[in-house]
């Protein structure tokens, strides 16, 4: 029997537009192509912009993780201008980023993930839910489904903290190069503390027990959607006057062995992406090629030392020793909830450390470098911005987002990226379970296709 070709499209409940092409043979997934089907061209849009536009403009790459694009662009500009960052600014920056992480993780778990495991009310937006493998008894199911409503408020409160200091959300305004433009006043600190405590309460009363309940009921998912176990993190939550101290360490984890991450070992490959190299331009110049036959996605393939690596909460929790476990669908889900709890506690700590005072911002006026690369981890994994500048204008701007790592297409040698690896080998006991099982595996990476293709 030749493999059956299947299209899973659209994969809903994620950010952006995703389709997956599959081959299934004797119940097993034997091939998977993850296909990100939108392209805007931000690396081209950034060119000729004044380099300080990067903080606001690159936030428009992503709606659900906007603040981290602003953050990494600010780190990049801090390098270019050689800014010194006040400690108070670092607390504020991390509080804003932390708030966006809480927003992202809470919404991912409940809005995107919950309908994979729990029977939702048969009304919009939950019509035609596939309930073939919803396993909870009526009481647990009702309880879990009702927490969707609690998550609506917790997600909104998370963004309220970001807006309180950042002016709005998504696409905050105050976290810019040189520090933060808002004054951390006692009333704002107190207001944010009240919001954080509410969110903490939500995380402890609902998110953590709900995660445990799902992990217990669907424990087979600790062995479904496993990846080769290569993890990468650029670290998270920077401190120090030069953004040089990292609260959560960066690193490369392979077969349980941790080593330092070196940015020089990162390479992108466009073999299966809709791009071509233009021979008549500079050698590293690429342009869109939407009709390229061997390609199937707008996401480039990115590798570290010639191999694909996975990023995200699981990578961070493993690399920092906060979690011990495997590389499965459920490990990714559990690690994300654990990270939500840790960040909600850190936020309270930082708000206590923050001192009321003037806006902690000192922007230097003259560029001291014309080239810089900045990194941080974002919600879904490693995020990199790199810029080449001429006369304060962007000549070249490169962006490698977390979902590029996780949803890398195959490279020239046909090596699969993390998401494709997780899908291949999956047992599909019956056709009606196909999208359910695959959807759970895919969403455990919390893909953001707007970011991946940018």
């Amino acid at each position: 029997m030749s493999p059956q070709k299947i299209l899973f499209s659209p994969v809903t409940r994620l950010s952006g537009l995703l389709s997956v092409e599959l081959e299934i043979e004797h119940r097993l997934v034997t091939e998977a192509n993850v296909s990100c089907t939108m392209f805007r061209g931000f690396e081209y849009i950034m060119r000729n912009h004044h380099v300080t536009d990067a903080v606001y403009l690159t936030q428009r790459i992503c709606g659900i993780c906007s603040s981290v694009h602003g953050a990494v662009a600010s780190y990049l500009l801090d390098q270019l201008y050689d800014n010194d960052i006040e400690e108070n600014a670092q607390y504020l920056r991390n509080i804003m980023m932390g708030a966006d992480f809480l927003q992202n993780h809470i919404r991912h778990f409940y809005f995107f993930g919950l309908p994979d495991f729990v029977v939702m009310p048969n009304q919009p937006p939950f019509l035609s839910q596939n309930c073939y493998d919803c396993r909870f008894d009526e009481k647990d199911n009702r309880r879990l489904a009702s927490h969707y409503l609690e998550a609506i408020k917790a997600g909104e409160k998370s963004h309220q903290i970001l807006a309180l200091f950042g002016g709005k959300a998504p696409h905050q305004h105050s976290f810019v190069h040189g520090g933060v433009a808002v004054a951390p006043t006692a009333d704002k600190i107190n207001q944010a503390l009240a919001l954080v405590r509410d969110i903490q309460d939500f995380v402890k009363r609902y998110l953590m027990p709900d995660t445990e309940l799902i992990a217990k009921c669907y424990s087979d998912y600790f062995h479904i959607g496993e990846t080769p176990g290569r993890f990468l993190s650029f670290g998270l939550f920077r401190f120090g006057s030069k953004n040089n101290q990292m609260l959560w360490q960066s690193g490369v984890l392979e077969n349980g062995r941790l080593s330092d991450a070196h940015l020089g070992l990162i390479q992108e490959d466009i073999s299966r992406a809709w791009f071509k190299r233009a021979a008549w331009l500079k050698s590293d110049e690429i342009s869109p090629a939407p009709h390229k036959l061997e390609a199937y996605t707008w996401t480039k393939s990115v590798q570290y030392r010639g191999k694909h690596y996975e990023g995200g909460p699981l990578a961070r929790m493993l690399i920092n020793g906060f979690y011990e476990g495997g590389t499965s669908t459920m490990d990714r889900i559990v690690a994300r909830s654990l990270e939500t709890l840790l960040i909600s506690e850190l936020m309270e700590e930082w708000l206590h450390e923050l001192q009321p005072g003037e806006p902690p911002i000192h922007q230097k006026k003259d560029l001291v470098h014309n080239q810089a690369t900045a990194v941080t981890d974002a919600m879904r994994g490693p995020l990199l911005h790199s810029a080449l500048v001429q006369d304060e204008k962007v000549e070249k701007y490169d962006i490698i987002t977390p979902t590029v790592w996780n949803f890398s297409p195959k490279d020239e040698q046909n090596h699969r990226g993390p998401a494709e690896s997780a899908l291949v080998g999956t047992d599909i006991p019956s056709p009606e379970l196909r999208n359910v099982i695959l959807g759970r595996i895919i969403r455990s990476f919390d893909p953001c296709i707007s970011c991946a293709t940018h």
Partner: protein, 323 residues
């Protein structure tokens, strides 16, 4: 309640203590539904080329909260973000809605529409019969919808997705459809503007629009007109840097040429807005955003690509009024 009173309520709530489209609107909506035995608005929400920031902004709505919008105002039948259905089940829901609610559903489009190369730069789904481009989907759905609402600046005017060099040939929804599109611009939209527009459609039909097809309720006046720091501007007391408490005109503020009620309404449960955190407005509701606002931190007269002052309301202030 009459249409004019509703408009007044929206304005009043913009300035009241717990302002926004506060709890006041919800009981009225409910009563209206009961009194008129009207269905909720059936909605198909199409995501095309944008960052998804507008659906996140929509999640941030307060009074009504998201669950209240779902239970009292709209039947969100198709939405890539929220729907439980996936794969072919999702597409069947879309087809079913077109048939069942032909001429009665509201199409919400989030994102610009790539037009170059047949629209291949945005595929909303792939099927056995080939890919469905955003261009194709928006034309098919747009022809069958009662209202078309463009949420965010990308859907309204092209926005960041059509910024130079616009290699995907992206445009706003109104530019690819031969019908009226209600634009609710912003990058992202303020949830009040969007939910308020839905409320108006539900209770009173189409709201009064400005010359860029935006509800006047939210976009009639410039940021500059209502800015808390207007007195600094009038005294030419300008900020020397970001973080200062004076007027942000010197720091690149686009407020004088940008229409929206941000200074009153503010963001995320109405706690703040960009000028309040000592940074400039970057004109994200404008037709020429982001190109016309760049460089973001350069004063307005030196911004190279601005298309005049935005729209006629601002070019020609009404008699006896300042801008």
């Amino acid at each position: 309640m009459e249409k004019a009173d509703f408009g007044q309520l929206c304005r009043d709530n913009a300035t009241a203590d717990n302002h926004g489209l506060s709890a006041n609107v919800l009981p009225i909506t409910r009563r209206y539904l009961v009194d008129n035995n009207k269905e909720k608005l059936p909605v198909i929400w199409l995501e095309t080329s944008d960052s998804g920031d507008n659906n996140i902004a929509f999640m941030n709505t307060t009074f009504p909260y998201l669950n209240q919008v779902f239970s009292d105002m709209i039947d969100l039948i198709y939405s890539n973000t929220f729907m439980a259905a996936q794969g072919n089940d999702a597409l069947m829901l879309m087809d079913d809605t077109i048939n069942r609610y032909h001429g009665r559903f509201t199409l919400v489009v989030e994102g610009a529409i790539p037009t170059k190369d047949g629209g291949i730069y945005n595929i909303i789904a792939r099927t056995k019969n080939g890919p469905i481009t955003a261009l194709e989907a928006v034309r098919r759905l747009g022809a069958a919808a009662q209202y078309v609402v463009a949420i965010g600046t990308c859907a309204s005017f092209g926005g960041a997705s059509s910024a130079e060099p616009n290699i995907t040939g992206s445009a706003g929804v109104g530019q690819v459809l031969k019908r009226e599109v209600i634009n609710v611009s912003g990058c992202p939209v303020n949830p009040d503007w969007f939910v308020g527009t839905l409320a108006h459609l539900l209770m009173y039909g189409k709201p009064e629009l400005d010359d860029l097809n935006r509800p006047k309720l939210f976009y009639e006046f410039t940021i500059h007109r209502h800015c808390q720091r207007r007195s600094y501007f009038d005294k030419k007391d300008l900020a020397k840097k970001l973080g200062d408490i004076e007027c942000m005109f010197s720091q690149g503020c686009s407020g004088p040429r940008t229409s929206s009620d941000c200074p009153y309404r503010q963001w995320i449960n109405h706690v703040s807005w960009p000028v309040k955190v000592n940074t400039p407005c970057i004109g994200c509701t404008n037709r020429d955003f982001p190109d016309g606002s760049a460089p973001f931190f350069t004063p307005l007269p030196q911004k190279s690509k601005s298309e005049g002052t935005g729209h006629s309301e601002q070019i020609k202030p009404k008699k006896g009024e300042d801008t």
